[in-house]
């Protein structure tokens, strides 16, 4: 079946502009995660959605970052007033969440954001 998809695949924007990044998780996956990967770095957790529960926003680096998940499926990550340090690959992952059981996160291809 289809995996996690993300759009756009690449985004170049000017400093100060807002950007929206989209994630379509695997159908039936109830949990969705956003991560950020800067060049030469591992993945940094941003935010987590699980069903209708309040999202875990503990990884968002500033109030310029926000995310929502509509209808328990598609998610949008918004970065307002982008800064050059926001340049990174933004990765989305989804899982089938079964209570407290550990589960595998399946990643999308990422959106490569470049802020000029």
């Amino acid at each position: 079946g289809a995996g996690v998809s993300q759009s756009p695949s690449n985004k170049v924007t000017e400093k100060g502009k807002d950007v929206e990044l989209r994630c379509d998780p695997i159908s039936g996956h109830t949990a969705l995660y956003w991560y950020r990967q800067s060049l030469g770095q591992g993945l940094e957790f941003l935010i987590y959605f699980q069903g209708n529960s309040a999202p875990d926003k503990s990884g968002l680096p500033s109030d310029r970052f926000s995310a929502e998940r509509t209808g328990g499926s598609v998610s949008t990550l918004t970065i307002q007033r982008t800064q050059q340090e926001d340049s990174a690959v933004y990765l989305c992952a989804s899982t089938v969440s079964l209570g407290a059981r550990a589960e595998t996160q399946y990643f999308g291809p990422g959106t490569r954001l470049l802020v000029l």
């Binding site: 996690v4 949990a31 995660y33 991560y35 990967q37 060049l39 030469g40 770095q41 591992g42 993945l43 940094e44 957790f45 987590y48 699980q50 875990d56 990884g59 690959v89 990765l91 992952a93 969440s97 550990a102 595998t104 996160q105 399946y106 990643f107 999308g108 291809p109 990422g110 490569r112």
Partner: protein
């Protein structure tokens, strides 16, 4: 495509050799560990996982070893192939927290 991890530690092996990639994890309470493979321009791809109540798990050509005493995780790849060239990340999960904590990655280069 974009190069991931220009300054990562690099392991270079000959095609057909066995590879061992090591990872030191940070939290002794972590109960679940995963190895991911990331090729240039792509998202991380699941390879193998292991729970903290195990010390070894085998997959196809891959084996993960867990040493909780020293908080060490390793990924062994048998008969390494050029297609195995990628950046490999270990990740850990702490009980009560859904998000994974990722290591900084190791680049594997397979010489033909």
């Amino acid at each position: 495509g974009e190069s991931v991890g220009l300054h990562l530690p690099t392991l270079s092996v000959q095609e057909g050799d066995n590879s061992i990639i090591n990872c030191a994890y940070s939290n002794s309470a972590s109960d679940y560990f995963i190895w991911y493979k990331q090729e240039s321009g792509k998202g991380p791809q699941f390879i193998i996982d292991i729970r903290s109540n195990m010390d070894k798990r085998q997959g196809q050509r891959v084996t993960v070893l867990l040493n909780k005493t020293v908080k060490h995780l390793s990924l062994q790849i048998a008969a390494t192939q050029p297609g195995d060239s990628a950046v490999y990340f270990c990740a850990e999960r702490v009980p009560g927290r859904r998000a994974l904590t990722f290591g900084s990655g190791t680049r594997l280069q397979v010489q033909p």
